[in-house]
Structures are given as C-alpha cells and as structure tokens.
Point group: C2
Chain length 345, copies 2
Amino acid sequence: MAENPGAQGRAPSMADVAEVAGVSHQTVSRVLNDHPNVREETRAAVLAAIEQLGYRRNSAARALVTRRSGVLGVVTTGSALFGPSSTLLGIELAAREHGYVVTVATVTSFEPSTMSATVEQFLEQRVEGIIVVAPQVDATRAILDLGAPVPIVMVSSSFVDARGAGVSPVRSVSVDQVAGGRLATEHLLGLGHRNVLHVAGPGDWFDARARLVGWRAALETVPGASGEMVQGDWTADFGYDLGLRLAREGAPSAVFAANDQIALGLLRAFWESGLVVPRDVSVVGFDDVAGADHFIPPLTTVRQDFEALGRHALAVTDRMVEGEDPDTSPLVPELVVRASTTAWG
Amino acid sequence: MAENPGAQGRAPSMADVAEVAGVSHQTVSRVLNDHPNVREETRAAVLAAIEQLGYRRNSAARALVTRRSGVLGVVTTGSALFGPSSTLLGIELAAREHGYVVTVATVTSFEPSTMSATVEQFLEQRVEGIIVVAPQVDATRAILDLGAPVPIVMVSSSFVDARGAGVSPVRSVSVDQVAGGRLATEHLLGLGHRNVLHVAGPGDWFDARARLVGWRAALETVPGASGEMVQGDWTADFGYDLGLRLAREGAPSAVFAANDQIALGLLRAFWESGLVVPRDVSVVGFDDVAGADHFIPPLTTVRQDFEALGRHALAVTDRMVEGEDPDTSPLVPELVVRASTTAWG
DNA sequence: CGCGCCATTGTGAACGCTAACATCGTGCAC
DNA sequence: GTGCACGATGTTAGCGTTCACAATGGCGCG
C-alpha cells in the first residue's frame, strides 16, 4: 500500500483527501471543522481518506485565511530562575487548555532594541497576544513604548495598568508582593522581634521593591519596631557575605530575606559563625523554592504559586484577545512557617 | 497622517506597500529578501513605504508557499525542574541564533496518547523538527512509535540512536551520566572510602540508571570497594528520611546521591542526628543546582551544563533538518569538589 | 402535482506571499 | 546599425485553507 506517493514529497492536502474520498475539498473542510450538515457516511468516507493518507491540516494556510493564528508569544527572561520557569509552565499548560499554541522567546536583556526585535518577530508570526515574564523595571518601559497591535500582558508586580503608548492595551498580573513582604515581617513582629533587618533584592526588580514596601509598612504599624535595609542581588553568595559581616558586627534578632537563595546564604554564614538559627537569629525567606523545607534549619518563607500566576496571566491574555475586560487583581502569597523563626525576648 | 486606515482593520500587506512605493509587490518581496537586483533608490522607496505603513511580513503566507515554517517544536516535561528548564533555555537561545522560532508544549505524562497528540499538534504547525526533553524511559517508546515525518531529537542519556519505527530519524543527545556517576564515585574512592552508598533516582529515568551504572563501574575497578544501592525519587524528602534511618542504623562513610535535592535532605538528616559531614560521612550530589555551594556544608557535586546541552540539542536538530549527519557524542560532566567530602581512614 | 424549504454538496474567490517566467530598456560588441 | 546579454521590474500562478454563494435533490404541504 503506497502510503505516501512521494514519501518526502509534499504532505497531503485537503484536495488529496477530497479526491480519495470522492468529495469536494470543501466537504473535507466541513468534516474537519465539525460542521453539522454532513451526511454520516460522507463523514466516514472523509475520515477514512484522512486516515489513509495521513493527512494533517496546515495551520499556516488556515491562519492565512482566518486571520487568526492561535499563537501566543511569551517573552521570558534569560535565566532558569525558579519563578519564571514555573510561570512559563503555568502559561503553557493553560494555553493549551484554551486552545492556544505558545511560542517562546528568551531574552537576555530588556533593552528596548532587544525587546522590540523580539516583539517584531512575534508580530510576523501574527501572535494574537504577548505575555512578558519580565520582573525587571526596565522591561516595562521597553514594552510601553512598543505599541504593538495586540494585547500585552506583563507578569510582574508592577502597577502598570495602562493603555500603553500605542494601540495595544497593556495589563499586568502579579502576586501581591507587598502583602508577602508584610506577611513575613508581621510574622517576625508577632514573635516579639522589634528589629527586623531586610535584605532586599536588586532595585530594578519590581518584586524586590514591593517586598521592601511591605516590610516597611509592617514595621510602621507596630510601635517601637524598626529595622535597617540592605540591598543585594538575589544570590546566596550575597546572603553569605552579608551573614558573615552581620555575625562579626552584631546581628539583629530577625532577618527578612527577599528570597530563599539569600536566606540560604545567611543560614550558612550564621552556622559557620556559630550563631544558632533560630535561637540567636530568626530568618524568613521568600519563594519557597524546592528544598527550602530541608534547609538547616527548614526555612520559614513566603510561598507564591508561580504556576497559578502563569495560568492567571494566560486567562487575562485570553480575555483581552477576545476583547473583553480582564480581572487583573493580584494573587495572594502565603506564609509557610518552619523552623527558622522563633519567639524573641 | 492616516497611519492605519482601519486601525484595527487588516494589517498592511505587500500589495499595500507596493502601492505606496509605486512598485509591484514582487519588488517589495525582493527588497525584503535582499535580492541583489534592485535599484538603490527603489529599495529606499520601498523601505520608506514599509516604515510608513508599519508593514510586517506574514510568516504564515510565507510558510505556505516556501513549505518551510522555520518553527521547531519542543516537548518538555511538566515540571519546573532545574535541568529541563535550563535545557529549554539553551535550546531557545541557540534556536534564535540559527533562525528558528520555537514553540513549546508541556506534557504532564509520557503516555503514548499524550505524546502523539502533542506531536500531532506540532505537525499541523509544520514544525521542521522536534526536540523532546524527556528524561523518562517511557517517553522513548512513545516517540519511537511515532514515525513523524520530521527529525526528532531526544534530550536524555538514553542510548537510543535509531532510525525510529517510521520515516523520521530519531537521535538523542545527552550529558554522559555514566561518566558523571563514575566521577563522583572515584572521587570518594580516591579519598580512601571503601563503602560508598548510592542513593539512586527513579528507575524509569535514564539519568538515574546511568549514574547507577557509573557508580557500579567505579566500584568494580577498586579492589575491596563495595557499596549498597537504595532507590528513591528525586526529592529532598526522600533523602531526609533515608538519612535519618542511616544515622539510626549506622551510616557508611560515603554517600553518592543521585541529585542535589536528595543530598540536601541527607545533609539535614545527618545534621539533626548529630553526624558531622564530612567528618563522619562524606556526601556527593549531582547537578550543582543554584545554592549547592551554600548548603551546610557546601556540597561536592557533579555539574552538568544543561544550557550547553540544550544548545547541543539544537545544533543536532538543525543538522538533521538540513539533511546532514549530526554529531551526537555526549557532553562530559565535571566534578566540583567542595566541603562535603573528605578523606577517610 | 407543483412549490418552496432545507439538508447536503460543490464552485470560485480570496488570504499574502514566493517562484518562474515575461517584459522592457540600456549598453556594448560586432 | 543590429543583435544580444543583462539588469531592473512586472505578471501570473500557485501554496492549502475558509468563506460566500450556488446548485442539487428530496420531502412536506397545499
């Protein structure tokens, strides 16, 4: 049975199927699109022909005439960080459920020129919407200046919720980082700590800024509470170096680290310096990365559900593509209390 | 200046550009494709018209006629594990450099039906190649049975390097996990340990199997060396539980954990049990995840460059798409010695 | 028995692009 | 001066779909 006449020759088209089934190409199209008015035996004949030829529809041809590609573009940051990876996962899973196909572009910097080239590529593909997993501040500017003809959704805790500079509406979805920062800090304050050091993340990250805001807000609600802030990067190295210094120069009773990596570095530094966590100092992290429950000691942290965030981003995008108004209210993070924090005083 | 006559109306086409520039659409096409025989001022006029209209080429129309989509499909596993995420990153980065666009599909199981549906979707998009980041054994079977009309590259340490059941060639790229397992074990043996416990990963993962093979091979080269094997999952939880048991029942002097998560759990368990690492027991991990250098104590581990693996996968795919024969020799992992291992006896 | 309606199917024309070929000058060799 | 090659451009025909509309035929109903 000569399945493919040409083997490597062109893939079978509707016309080929039509010929085998003895119908017109339009009837084949109807069968494929579940059009109601097709006689049952005709449908069967078409399906048989499809099976026999190994026919698959050509989405390019389809997109050309329908002017709908069914493709969504995701711009993601060029690092395998826990958050972005999980978010991408959530987006992809949800996209499939909504009938979209996802193409991704990884970007190593958020310079306007890079962003613009990336988006341009998406637009050539006629994506119906763009999701930017871009937690850095400078990504926003690049995006707002874009003025793409499709909806753009940013995944970040920015407060941008504008129409954008051009035609495209830009929205953002996020986990409420301010609430997370408050949660962490209130937990420490509730344990009796009155001096809570905050190790912040890089200043050009929205999340870092927002956690800082939450920390400060919590401090202000409790009389007598105070705390310093140190700004670092997201790395364990930074936490480690800082921890060593704190141990030398005198550590506060409580530290709120902007992410779990920093907290990990702190834990090691304290351990090496003979400071016992949580007896001598309580530590709270942020993210609840894999393994945080097995740090020494297991880390109290703020969990954010990145996958849910991704799904949320997709839902918002979908609504915007459909021309409806999305609900962009932020997701709420959750405090996970473990052994790295204890009462003070 | 009425930029878009219809604003939301259809995007400008070559014909529109041609009209504005006062040339034929074919000339526009020539300009876009850098055809040499275009007069300089004509080119300028076309470019100006493109700019003015905000024209972008339509890749669907282009793919339709050229029969080349420039799209690659990546199937990835439904988890934000460190390895797969980094690999995806490498693939994407390299894909762009090679002029491909990447669409991803996340799959939560490797059942043949799921795999087949996923690949089917890719084929409708007329992807030119498929990369499967599928470290589990059952993925292989599903893929070999597929017989897709495009090249398939598996990222895994399987030894599959077959033509596949159908028309499509199937190849695999990998990091040499056997070598990695040997590296870890030889390091411990070299330190004088004669009893090396191996905590293996799930038996249906290629990587787990291969590391096990490497461990065993290393043991066999050293007279008097021995070791037991415990099979677990990849989680820190498993490592923790096992560690507690070992501490109770008597631990060997050296443990080679199949990944860093397991090692992390072991470290905590030993610590809680009063066993000092590395004095009482040496621990080696695998992967070198972010933060492994700040575990307590910093973890000796085998680093594999997942991003390079991804790039390698893409290079192989590209060659196959071009009908050439790829070099699929495995990448070599690297031992990173830190503080969790020390001499014995 | 004739009319119209509806279910079923077919026909032709886009969609936006590239490939192949046709056309039109212009310059140069003879 | 004629012929011809070649550079620059235009014309036409698809690529594989879907959409709009036309055509066919059976059936109910007056």
